[in-house]
Protein backbone atom coordinates (compact mmCIF):
# COMPACT_ATOMS: atom_id res chain seq x y z
CA UNK A 1 0.00 0.00 0.00
CA UNK A 2 2.77 2.44 1.02
CA UNK A 3 6.45 1.72 0.51
CA UNK A 4 9.39 3.97 1.39
CA UNK A 5 12.89 3.02 0.21
CA UNK A 6 15.89 4.98 1.49
CA UNK A 7 13.88 8.19 1.58
CA UNK A 8 15.66 11.34 2.72
CA UNK A 9 14.39 14.89 3.15
CA UNK A 10 16.15 18.15 3.76
CA UNK A 11 14.96 21.76 3.70
CA UNK A 12 17.10 23.85 1.37
CA UNK A 13 20.80 23.27 1.99
CA UNK A 14 20.33 22.21 5.62
CA UNK A 15 20.99 18.81 7.14
CA UNK A 16 18.64 15.94 6.37
CA UNK A 17 15.75 15.84 8.82
CA UNK A 18 14.73 12.37 7.62
CA UNK A 19 17.45 9.88 6.64
CA UNK A 20 17.25 6.52 4.90
CA UNK A 21 13.63 5.94 5.82
CA UNK A 22 12.46 2.52 4.62
CA UNK A 23 9.20 0.85 5.59
CA UNK A 24 6.02 -0.71 4.24
CA UNK A 25 2.42 -0.23 5.24
CA UNK A 26 0.51 -3.33 4.28
CA UNK A 27 -3.26 -3.48 3.75
CA UNK A 28 -5.44 -4.02 6.85
CA UNK A 29 -2.66 -3.14 9.31
CA UNK A 30 -2.62 -0.92 12.37
CA UNK A 31 0.49 1.00 13.39
CA UNK A 32 1.64 3.84 15.53
CA UNK A 33 4.14 6.38 14.24
CA UNK A 34 5.86 7.80 17.26
CA UNK A 35 8.86 9.77 18.41
CA UNK A 36 9.59 12.93 20.34
CA UNK A 37 8.09 16.25 19.32
CA UNK A 38 9.90 17.63 16.30
CA UNK A 39 11.17 14.18 15.24
CA UNK A 40 9.44 14.53 11.86
CA UNK A 41 6.20 12.57 12.33
CA UNK A 42 4.03 15.17 10.59
CA UNK A 43 6.63 15.56 7.84
CA UNK A 44 6.60 11.80 7.25
CA UNK A 45 2.80 11.85 7.02
CA UNK A 46 3.03 14.72 4.50
CA UNK A 47 5.45 12.64 2.43
CA UNK A 48 2.95 9.75 2.44
CA UNK A 49 0.27 12.21 1.34
CA UNK A 50 2.54 13.38 -1.51
CA UNK A 51 2.28 16.91 -0.13
CA UNK A 52 5.99 17.33 -0.79
CA UNK A 53 8.56 15.36 -2.78
CA UNK A 54 11.44 13.64 -0.97
CA UNK A 55 14.96 14.91 -1.52
CA UNK A 56 16.03 11.35 -2.33
CA UNK A 57 14.71 7.82 -2.26
CA UNK A 58 11.61 6.15 -3.62
CA UNK A 59 8.03 6.44 -2.41
CA UNK A 60 5.48 4.01 -3.80
CA UNK A 61 1.81 4.61 -3.07
CA UNK A 62 -0.76 1.97 -3.99
CA UNK A 63 1.82 0.38 -6.27
CA UNK A 64 2.72 3.57 -8.12
CA UNK A 65 6.04 5.41 -8.06
CA UNK A 66 5.31 8.90 -6.70
CA UNK A 67 7.76 10.52 -9.13
CA UNK A 68 5.83 9.24 -12.13
CA UNK A 69 2.41 10.43 -11.02
CA UNK A 70 0.68 13.31 -12.73
CA UNK A 71 -1.72 15.71 -10.96
CA UNK A 72 -4.83 13.68 -11.78
CA UNK A 73 -3.26 10.46 -10.47
CA UNK A 74 -2.16 12.20 -7.25
CA UNK A 75 -5.72 13.47 -6.76
CA UNK A 76 -7.10 9.96 -7.36
CA UNK A 77 -4.65 8.46 -4.83
CA UNK A 78 -5.46 11.10 -2.21
CA UNK A 79 -9.10 10.08 -2.45
CA UNK A 80 -8.06 6.66 -1.14
CA UNK A 81 -6.39 8.21 1.89
CA UNK A 82 -8.18 9.79 4.84
CA UNK A 83 -6.25 12.32 6.90
CA UNK A 84 -6.85 13.70 10.39
CA UNK A 85 -4.64 16.73 10.91
CA UNK A 86 -3.23 17.70 14.27
CA UNK A 87 -4.81 21.15 13.84
CA UNK A 88 -7.98 19.61 12.29
CA UNK A 89 -7.95 21.85 9.17
CA UNK A 90 -11.71 22.32 9.35
CA UNK A 91 -13.01 25.21 7.23
CA UNK A 92 -14.40 27.72 9.71
CA UNK A 93 -17.00 29.14 7.31
CA UNK A 94 -18.60 25.73 6.69
CA UNK A 95 -20.87 23.92 9.11
CA UNK A 96 -19.86 20.60 10.67
CA UNK A 97 -22.07 18.83 8.13
CA UNK A 98 -20.49 20.70 5.22
CA UNK A 99 -16.97 20.04 6.52
CA UNK A 100 -17.60 16.32 6.84
CA UNK A 101 -19.20 16.20 3.38
CA UNK A 102 -16.30 18.14 1.81
CA UNK A 103 -14.48 15.10 0.30
CA UNK A 104 -17.71 14.21 -1.50
CA UNK A 105 -18.43 17.78 -2.54
CA UNK A 106 -15.00 18.19 -4.17
CA UNK A 107 -15.91 15.21 -6.34
CA UNK A 108 -18.91 17.29 -7.45
CA UNK A 109 -21.43 14.70 -6.36
CA UNK A 110 -25.06 15.70 -5.84
CA UNK A 111 -25.62 16.71 -2.23
CA UNK A 112 -28.80 14.67 -2.02
CA UNK A 113 -26.85 11.51 -2.95
CA UNK A 114 -24.76 11.52 0.24
CA UNK A 115 -26.79 13.52 2.75
CA UNK A 116 -28.05 10.47 4.66
CA UNK A 117 -24.57 8.92 4.72
CA UNK A 118 -22.97 12.07 6.16
CA UNK A 119 -25.69 12.42 8.80
CA UNK A 120 -25.30 8.78 9.81
CA UNK A 121 -21.53 9.18 10.20
CA UNK A 122 -22.01 12.40 12.21
CA UNK A 123 -24.32 10.55 14.58
CA UNK A 124 -21.82 7.68 14.79
CA UNK A 125 -19.07 10.05 16.00
CA UNK A 126 -21.52 11.72 18.37
CA UNK A 127 -22.06 14.96 16.43
CA UNK A 128 -25.65 14.31 15.33
CA UNK A 129 -26.89 17.36 17.16
CA UNK A 130 -23.95 19.59 16.11
CA UNK A 131 -24.14 19.29 12.34
CA UNK A 132 -25.35 22.86 11.76
CA UNK A 133 -22.72 24.37 14.04
CA UNK A 134 -19.62 26.13 12.74
CA UNK A 135 -16.18 24.90 13.90
CA UNK A 136 -15.30 28.02 15.95
CA UNK A 137 -18.05 27.13 18.43
CA UNK A 138 -17.17 23.41 18.62
CA UNK A 139 -15.09 22.13 21.53
CA UNK A 140 -11.65 20.62 20.87
CA UNK A 141 -13.04 17.10 21.11
CA UNK A 142 -15.93 17.91 18.77
CA UNK A 143 -13.52 19.38 16.21
CA UNK A 144 -11.41 16.25 16.52
CA UNK A 145 -14.42 14.02 15.86
CA UNK A 146 -15.54 16.21 12.94
CA UNK A 147 -12.03 15.92 11.44
CA UNK A 148 -12.12 12.13 11.91
CA UNK A 149 -15.57 11.92 10.33
CA UNK A 150 -14.31 13.93 7.35
CA UNK A 151 -11.39 11.52 6.98
CA UNK A 152 -13.71 8.49 7.12
CA UNK A 153 -16.56 9.64 4.89
CA UNK A 154 -14.81 8.37 1.74
CA UNK A 155 -14.21 4.94 3.34
CA UNK A 156 -10.47 5.30 2.80
CA UNK A 157 -8.12 2.37 2.30
CA UNK A 158 -5.53 4.15 4.41
CA UNK A 159 -6.14 6.47 7.36
CA UNK A 160 -3.41 8.83 8.56
CA UNK A 161 -4.13 10.49 11.90
CA UNK A 162 -1.73 13.08 13.32
CA UNK A 163 -2.01 13.27 17.13
CA UNK A 164 -5.73 12.45 16.99
CA UNK A 165 -6.03 12.31 20.76
CA UNK A 166 -3.87 15.32 21.52
CA UNK A 167 -6.75 17.67 22.26
CA UNK A 168 -9.16 15.41 24.09
CA UNK A 169 -9.56 14.01 27.59
CA UNK A 170 -8.44 10.40 28.30
CA UNK A 171 -11.99 9.06 28.17
CA UNK A 172 -12.65 10.54 24.73
CA UNK A 173 -9.18 9.47 23.61
CA UNK A 174 -10.07 5.83 24.41
CA UNK A 175 -13.36 6.17 22.52
CA UNK A 176 -11.58 7.62 19.50
CA UNK A 177 -9.01 4.82 19.59
CA UNK A 178 -11.81 2.26 19.68
CA UNK A 179 -13.24 4.02 16.63
CA UNK A 180 -9.91 3.63 14.81
CA UNK A 181 -9.78 -0.04 15.81
CA UNK A 182 -13.26 -0.61 14.42
CA UNK A 183 -12.13 1.04 11.23
CA UNK A 184 -9.07 -1.21 11.11
CA UNK A 185 -11.23 -4.29 11.63
CA UNK A 186 -13.41 -3.18 8.72
CA UNK A 187 -10.34 -3.33 6.43
CA UNK A 188 -8.66 0.08 6.56
CA UNK A 189 -4.94 0.44 7.22
CA UNK A 190 -4.41 2.90 10.04
CA UNK A 191 -1.34 5.01 10.87
CA UNK A 192 -1.62 7.02 14.07
CA UNK A 193 1.11 9.53 14.77
CA UNK A 194 1.40 10.17 18.49
CA UNK A 195 3.96 10.75 21.19
CA UNK A 196 1.55 9.49 23.90
CA UNK A 197 3.28 6.35 25.24
CA UNK A 198 0.41 5.57 27.61
CA UNK A 199 -2.00 5.48 24.69
CA UNK A 200 0.23 3.10 22.74
CA UNK A 201 0.65 0.86 25.75
CA UNK A 202 -3.10 0.20 25.64
CA UNK A 203 -2.58 -1.41 22.24
CA UNK A 204 0.28 -3.78 22.85
CA UNK A 205 -0.10 -5.73 19.64
CA UNK A 206 0.17 -2.70 17.38
CA UNK A 207 3.23 -2.19 15.22
CA UNK A 208 5.38 0.81 16.19
CA UNK A 209 7.34 3.02 13.79
CA UNK A 210 9.66 5.10 15.95
CA UNK A 211 11.32 8.21 14.56
CA UNK A 212 14.45 9.50 16.25
CA UNK A 213 17.42 11.52 14.98
CA UNK A 214 15.91 11.48 11.52
CA UNK A 215 15.91 7.68 11.33
CA UNK A 216 13.05 5.22 11.58
CA UNK A 217 13.09 2.11 13.81
CA UNK A 218 10.37 -0.46 13.40
CA UNK A 219 9.06 -2.66 16.24
CA UNK A 220 6.64 -5.30 14.99
Amino acid sequence: MVRFENVGLRYGMGAEILRDISFDIAPRTFQFLTGPSGAGKTTLLRLILLAMPPTRGLITLFGKDSQELDKAEITALRRKVGVVFQDFRLLDHLTTYQNVALPLRVQEREESSYRAEVMELLRWVGLGDRMHVYPPVLSGGEKQRAAIARALIMRPQLLLADEPTGNVDPSLARRLMRLFQELHKSGTSVVIATHDLALMDQFDGARRLVLGDGRLHIYD
Binding site: M52, K71, T75, L91, E108, D129, R150
Partner: protein, 323 residues
Amino acid sequence: MNPSPDMAARPPIETVDLTDAWSDTPLVPAETVAGRSLMLVIAIMTFLAALTAGFAIVLAGAARDWRGDVAMEMTVQVMPRTGRDLDADAAKAARVVAAFPGVAEARAFTRQESEDLLAPWLGAGLDLSQLPTPRLIAVRRDPKAQLDEIGLRAALDAALPNAVLDNHGAWMQRLDTMARVVVGAAAGIFVLVLIAMALAVSFATRGAMAGNREIIEALHFVGAADGFVARQFQFHFLRLGLRGGAAGGGAAILLFLVLGLLSRHWASSAGGEQAEALFGSFTLGWSGIASIVLISLGAAMLAGLVSRAIVFRALRSFFAAPD
Protein backbone atom coordinates in the same frame (compact mmCIF):
# COMPACT_ATOMS: atom_id res chain seq x y z
CA MET B 1 -43.48 29.07 28.82
CA ASN B 2 -44.95 26.60 26.33
CA PRO B 3 -43.03 25.82 23.15
CA SER B 4 -44.33 27.65 20.10
CA PRO B 5 -46.39 25.66 17.55
CA ASP B 6 -43.52 26.13 15.06
CA MET B 7 -41.02 24.58 17.44
CA ALA B 8 -43.37 21.68 18.14
CA ALA B 9 -43.84 21.07 14.42
CA ARG B 10 -40.09 21.17 13.59
CA PRO B 11 -39.17 18.10 11.53
CA PRO B 12 -36.68 15.57 12.85
CA ILE B 13 -33.09 16.32 11.88
CA GLU B 14 -32.99 13.52 9.29
CA THR B 15 -35.48 15.39 7.11
CA VAL B 16 -33.99 18.88 7.37
CA ASP B 17 -33.29 20.14 3.87
CA LEU B 18 -29.69 21.37 3.80
CA THR B 19 -29.58 22.09 0.09
CA ASP B 20 -29.99 25.86 0.39
CA ALA B 21 -27.42 26.22 3.13
CA TRP B 22 -25.10 24.04 1.09
CA SER B 23 -25.31 25.86 -2.19
CA ASP B 24 -25.03 29.26 -0.54
CA THR B 25 -21.67 28.51 0.99
CA PRO B 26 -18.73 29.11 -1.33
CA LEU B 27 -15.60 27.18 -0.41
CA VAL B 28 -13.50 30.34 -0.74
CA PRO B 29 -15.05 32.89 1.64
CA ALA B 30 -16.12 36.04 -0.24
CA GLU B 31 -14.64 38.34 2.40
CA THR B 32 -11.15 36.96 1.77
CA VAL B 33 -11.19 38.27 -1.81
CA ALA B 34 -10.46 41.99 -2.19
CA GLY B 35 -13.91 42.31 -3.68
CA ARG B 36 -15.13 45.88 -3.47
CA SER B 37 -11.92 47.61 -4.52
CA LEU B 38 -11.33 45.12 -7.34
CA MET B 39 -14.90 45.57 -8.56
CA LEU B 40 -14.30 49.34 -8.64
CA VAL B 41 -11.07 48.85 -10.61
CA ILE B 42 -12.87 46.58 -13.11
CA ALA B 43 -15.73 49.12 -13.38
CA ILE B 44 -13.30 51.99 -14.10
CA MET B 45 -11.30 49.91 -16.58
CA THR B 46 -14.45 48.73 -18.36
CA PHE B 47 -15.69 52.33 -18.48
CA LEU B 48 -12.40 53.52 -20.02
CA ALA B 49 -12.31 50.61 -22.48
CA ALA B 50 -15.95 51.21 -23.47
CA LEU B 51 -15.31 54.95 -23.78
CA THR B 52 -12.29 54.37 -26.01
CA ALA B 53 -14.17 51.87 -28.15
CA GLY B 54 -17.24 54.14 -28.28
CA PHE B 55 -15.27 57.18 -29.43
CA ALA B 56 -13.44 55.04 -31.99
CA ILE B 57 -16.80 53.79 -33.30
CA VAL B 58 -18.19 57.35 -33.46
CA LEU B 59 -15.08 58.69 -35.19
CA ALA B 60 -14.85 55.76 -37.59
CA GLY B 61 -18.52 56.31 -38.48
CA ALA B 62 -17.97 60.05 -38.96
CA ALA B 63 -14.88 59.40 -41.11
CA ARG B 64 -16.87 56.91 -43.18
CA ASP B 65 -19.58 59.55 -43.69
CA TRP B 66 -16.98 62.18 -44.65
CA ARG B 67 -15.38 59.80 -47.12
CA GLY B 68 -18.78 58.94 -48.57
CA ASP B 69 -19.78 62.60 -48.92
CA VAL B 70 -16.44 63.68 -50.37
CA ALA B 71 -16.19 60.72 -52.73
CA MET B 72 -19.63 61.50 -54.18
CA GLU B 73 -18.54 64.99 -55.13
CA MET B 74 -15.92 66.48 -57.43
CA THR B 75 -14.99 70.04 -58.24
CA VAL B 76 -14.12 71.62 -61.56
CA GLN B 77 -12.00 74.75 -61.33
CA VAL B 78 -12.15 77.12 -64.28
CA MET B 79 -9.00 79.24 -64.22
CA PRO B 80 -9.05 82.85 -65.31
CA ARG B 81 -7.10 83.45 -68.52
CA THR B 82 -6.40 86.71 -70.26
CA GLY B 83 -8.81 87.29 -73.09
CA ARG B 84 -11.36 84.70 -71.98
CA ASP B 85 -14.80 85.24 -70.50
CA LEU B 86 -14.68 83.41 -67.16
CA ASP B 87 -18.48 83.29 -66.71
CA ALA B 88 -18.95 81.88 -70.22
CA ASP B 89 -16.18 79.32 -69.65
CA ALA B 90 -17.77 78.28 -66.33
CA ALA B 91 -21.17 77.86 -67.95
CA LYS B 92 -19.66 75.81 -70.77
CA ALA B 93 -17.73 73.62 -68.39
CA ALA B 94 -20.91 73.04 -66.39
CA ARG B 95 -22.76 72.01 -69.54
CA VAL B 96 -19.97 69.61 -70.63
CA VAL B 97 -19.80 67.98 -67.20
CA ALA B 98 -23.58 67.78 -66.73
CA ALA B 99 -23.95 66.00 -70.06
CA PHE B 100 -21.27 63.41 -69.18
CA PRO B 101 -22.57 59.90 -68.26
CA GLY B 102 -22.41 59.16 -64.53
CA VAL B 103 -22.83 62.78 -63.44
CA ALA B 104 -26.03 63.57 -61.58
CA GLU B 105 -25.58 67.30 -61.32
CA ALA B 106 -23.06 70.01 -62.20
CA ARG B 107 -23.70 73.40 -60.72
CA ALA B 108 -21.48 76.42 -61.25
CA PHE B 109 -21.05 78.54 -58.16
CA THR B 110 -22.49 81.99 -58.67
CA ARG B 111 -20.25 84.99 -58.14
CA GLN B 112 -22.02 85.64 -54.83
CA GLU B 113 -21.44 82.06 -53.62
CA SER B 114 -17.74 82.32 -54.54
CA GLU B 115 -17.49 85.63 -52.66
CA ASP B 116 -19.16 84.02 -49.63
CA LEU B 117 -16.63 81.16 -49.71
CA LEU B 118 -13.68 83.58 -49.68
CA ALA B 119 -15.21 86.08 -47.25
CA PRO B 120 -13.77 84.40 -44.08
CA TRP B 121 -10.24 84.92 -45.46
CA LEU B 122 -10.52 88.08 -47.53
CA GLY B 123 -13.28 89.94 -45.69
CA ALA B 124 -16.86 90.83 -46.54
CA GLY B 125 -17.84 93.10 -49.45
CA LEU B 126 -15.36 91.41 -51.81
CA ASP B 127 -15.52 92.10 -55.55
CA LEU B 128 -14.18 88.97 -57.31
CA SER B 129 -13.95 90.75 -60.63
CA GLN B 130 -10.88 92.56 -59.24
CA LEU B 131 -9.12 89.25 -58.40
CA PRO B 132 -7.87 86.41 -60.65
CA THR B 133 -9.80 83.76 -58.73
CA PRO B 134 -11.02 80.57 -60.40
CA ARG B 135 -14.71 79.78 -60.72
CA LEU B 136 -15.90 76.55 -59.18
CA ILE B 137 -18.36 73.98 -60.43
CA ALA B 138 -19.70 71.50 -57.89
CA VAL B 139 -20.14 68.09 -59.51
CA ARG B 140 -22.24 65.39 -57.89
CA ARG B 141 -21.84 61.80 -59.08
CA ASP B 142 -24.79 59.64 -59.93
CA PRO B 143 -24.62 56.93 -57.23
CA LYS B 144 -26.25 54.42 -59.56
CA ALA B 145 -23.89 54.88 -62.51
CA GLN B 146 -20.18 54.41 -63.11
CA LEU B 147 -18.27 57.61 -63.90
CA ASP B 148 -15.28 57.49 -66.25
CA GLU B 149 -13.06 60.12 -64.63
CA ILE B 150 -10.35 59.89 -67.33
CA GLY B 151 -13.00 60.37 -70.02
CA LEU B 152 -14.44 63.37 -68.16
CA ARG B 153 -11.00 64.97 -67.88
CA ALA B 154 -10.43 64.40 -71.62
CA ALA B 155 -13.84 65.91 -72.44
CA LEU B 156 -13.09 68.97 -70.31
CA ASP B 157 -9.61 69.37 -71.85
CA ALA B 158 -11.12 69.20 -75.30
CA ALA B 159 -13.79 71.77 -74.49
CA LEU B 160 -11.77 74.24 -72.43
CA PRO B 161 -8.05 74.77 -71.95
CA ASN B 162 -8.49 76.33 -68.53
CA ALA B 163 -10.70 73.75 -66.69
CA VAL B 164 -9.24 71.35 -64.08
CA LEU B 165 -11.10 68.43 -62.49
CA ASP B 166 -10.42 67.73 -58.79
CA ASN B 167 -11.80 64.40 -57.56
CA HIS B 168 -10.92 65.17 -53.88
CA GLY B 169 -8.53 62.21 -53.85
CA ALA B 170 -5.96 64.04 -51.68
CA TRP B 171 -8.66 64.90 -49.13
CA MET B 172 -9.91 61.35 -49.01
CA GLN B 173 -6.37 60.10 -48.53
CA ARG B 174 -5.91 62.46 -45.57
CA LEU B 175 -9.26 61.55 -44.05
CA ASP B 176 -8.48 57.89 -44.46
CA THR B 177 -5.09 58.29 -42.78
CA MET B 178 -6.56 60.33 -39.95
CA ALA B 179 -9.34 57.80 -39.37
CA ARG B 180 -6.82 54.93 -39.32
CA VAL B 181 -4.58 56.80 -36.85
CA VAL B 182 -7.50 57.57 -34.53
CA VAL B 183 -8.90 54.02 -34.63
CA GLY B 184 -5.38 52.57 -34.23
CA ALA B 185 -4.67 54.80 -31.20
CA ALA B 186 -8.03 53.84 -29.70
CA ALA B 187 -7.26 50.14 -30.21
CA GLY B 188 -3.87 50.66 -28.52
CA ILE B 189 -5.45 52.38 -25.52
CA PHE B 190 -8.15 49.68 -25.40
CA VAL B 191 -5.53 46.92 -25.25
CA LEU B 192 -3.54 48.79 -22.56
CA VAL B 193 -6.68 49.19 -20.44
CA LEU B 194 -7.43 45.46 -20.75
CA ILE B 195 -3.85 44.57 -19.80
CA ALA B 196 -4.06 46.86 -16.75
CA MET B 197 -7.33 45.19 -15.75
CA ALA B 198 -5.86 41.70 -16.21
CA LEU B 199 -2.88 42.68 -14.02
CA ALA B 200 -5.18 44.04 -11.31
CA VAL B 201 -7.16 40.79 -11.33
CA SER B 202 -3.97 38.74 -11.25
CA PHE B 203 -2.67 40.65 -8.19
CA ALA B 204 -6.03 40.22 -6.47
CA THR B 205 -6.05 36.48 -7.28
CA ARG B 206 -2.57 36.02 -5.86
CA GLY B 207 -3.67 37.89 -2.73
CA ALA B 208 -6.78 35.74 -2.41
CA MET B 209 -4.74 32.56 -2.85
CA ALA B 210 -2.20 33.65 -0.25
CA GLY B 211 -5.03 34.44 2.16
CA ASN B 212 -6.68 31.07 1.56
CA ARG B 213 -3.62 28.84 1.45
CA GLU B 214 -4.86 26.63 4.27
CA ILE B 215 -8.25 26.17 2.60
CA ILE B 216 -6.56 25.26 -0.69
CA GLU B 217 -4.32 22.77 1.09
CA ALA B 218 -7.29 21.24 2.94
CA LEU B 219 -9.21 20.95 -0.35
CA HIS B 220 -6.29 19.13 -1.95
CA PHE B 221 -5.93 16.74 0.96
CA VAL B 222 -9.60 15.75 0.77
CA GLY B 223 -9.14 14.95 -2.91
CA ALA B 224 -9.98 18.15 -4.79
CA ALA B 225 -8.56 18.37 -8.31
CA ASP B 226 -6.81 21.57 -9.44
CA GLY B 227 -9.68 22.34 -11.77
CA PHE B 228 -12.15 22.22 -8.88
CA VAL B 229 -9.99 24.56 -6.75
CA ALA B 230 -9.51 26.93 -9.70
CA ARG B 231 -13.27 27.07 -10.27
CA GLN B 232 -13.83 28.21 -6.67
CA PHE B 233 -11.68 31.29 -7.35
CA GLN B 234 -12.86 31.78 -10.91
CA PHE B 235 -16.45 31.93 -9.69
CA HIS B 236 -15.60 34.85 -7.37
CA PHE B 237 -13.71 36.84 -9.96
CA LEU B 238 -16.26 36.19 -12.70
CA ARG B 239 -18.97 37.52 -10.39
CA LEU B 240 -16.89 40.58 -9.51
CA GLY B 241 -16.13 41.05 -13.21
CA LEU B 242 -19.82 40.88 -14.12
CA ARG B 243 -20.70 43.47 -11.49
CA GLY B 244 -17.79 45.77 -12.37
CA GLY B 245 -18.35 45.31 -16.11
CA ALA B 246 -22.05 46.10 -15.78
CA ALA B 247 -21.30 49.26 -13.77
CA GLY B 248 -18.53 50.48 -16.11
CA GLY B 249 -20.30 49.56 -19.33
CA GLY B 250 -23.60 51.00 -18.07
CA ALA B 251 -21.89 54.28 -17.17
CA ALA B 252 -20.29 54.46 -20.63
CA ILE B 253 -23.62 53.83 -22.40
CA LEU B 254 -25.25 56.48 -20.20
CA LEU B 255 -22.49 58.97 -21.04
CA PHE B 256 -22.93 58.42 -24.78
CA LEU B 257 -26.71 58.78 -24.47
CA VAL B 258 -26.24 62.08 -22.59
CA LEU B 259 -23.65 63.29 -25.14
CA GLY B 260 -26.03 62.34 -27.96
CA LEU B 261 -28.85 64.34 -26.35
CA LEU B 262 -26.55 67.32 -25.69
CA SER B 263 -25.16 67.27 -29.24
CA ARG B 264 -28.72 67.33 -30.59
CA HIS B 265 -29.59 70.15 -28.20
CA TRP B 266 -26.53 72.19 -29.22
CA ALA B 267 -26.68 71.31 -32.92
CA SER B 268 -27.96 74.76 -33.83
CA SER B 269 -25.03 76.59 -32.22
CA ALA B 270 -21.77 77.32 -34.10
CA GLY B 271 -19.74 75.05 -31.80
CA GLY B 272 -22.34 72.32 -32.10
CA GLU B 273 -22.15 72.44 -35.89
CA GLN B 274 -18.37 72.06 -35.75
CA ALA B 275 -18.63 69.17 -33.32
CA GLU B 276 -21.27 67.49 -35.46
CA ALA B 277 -19.15 68.01 -38.58
CA LEU B 278 -16.24 66.30 -36.81
CA PHE B 279 -17.94 63.56 -34.79
CA GLY B 280 -21.36 63.21 -36.32
CA SER B 281 -24.18 63.34 -33.78
CA PHE B 282 -22.36 61.39 -31.00
CA THR B 283 -24.86 58.62 -31.55
CA LEU B 284 -23.50 55.12 -31.01
CA GLY B 285 -26.47 53.29 -32.44
CA TRP B 286 -27.52 49.79 -31.45
CA SER B 287 -24.32 48.25 -32.80
CA GLY B 288 -22.23 50.61 -30.63
CA ILE B 289 -24.30 49.83 -27.54
CA ALA B 290 -24.01 46.12 -28.34
CA SER B 291 -20.23 46.59 -28.59
CA ILE B 292 -20.10 48.15 -25.12
CA VAL B 293 -22.25 45.33 -23.70
CA LEU B 294 -19.84 42.84 -25.29
CA ILE B 295 -16.87 44.73 -23.81
CA SER B 296 -18.51 44.54 -20.36
CA LEU B 297 -19.10 40.79 -20.73
CA GLY B 298 -15.57 40.43 -22.08
CA ALA B 299 -14.20 42.24 -19.02
CA ALA B 300 -16.03 39.77 -16.75
CA MET B 301 -14.79 36.81 -18.75
CA LEU B 302 -11.27 38.22 -18.72
CA ALA B 303 -11.41 38.54 -14.92
CA GLY B 304 -12.61 34.92 -14.61
CA LEU B 305 -10.09 33.50 -17.07
CA VAL B 306 -7.13 35.46 -15.66
CA SER B 307 -7.94 34.31 -12.12
CA ARG B 308 -8.29 30.70 -13.35
CA ALA B 309 -4.95 30.86 -15.16
CA ILE B 310 -3.21 32.40 -12.13
CA VAL B 311 -4.68 29.76 -9.79
CA PHE B 312 -3.60 26.92 -12.09
CA ARG B 313 -0.13 28.38 -12.36
CA ALA B 314 0.14 28.80 -8.59
CA LEU B 315 -1.18 25.28 -7.94
CA ARG B 316 1.56 23.79 -10.12
CA SER B 317 4.10 24.86 -7.50
CA PHE B 318 1.79 24.39 -4.51
CA PHE B 319 3.27 21.07 -3.38
CA ALA B 320 6.76 21.72 -4.67
CA ALA B 321 10.00 20.73 -2.97
CA PRO B 322 10.59 22.41 0.41
CA ASP B 323 12.83 25.51 0.48
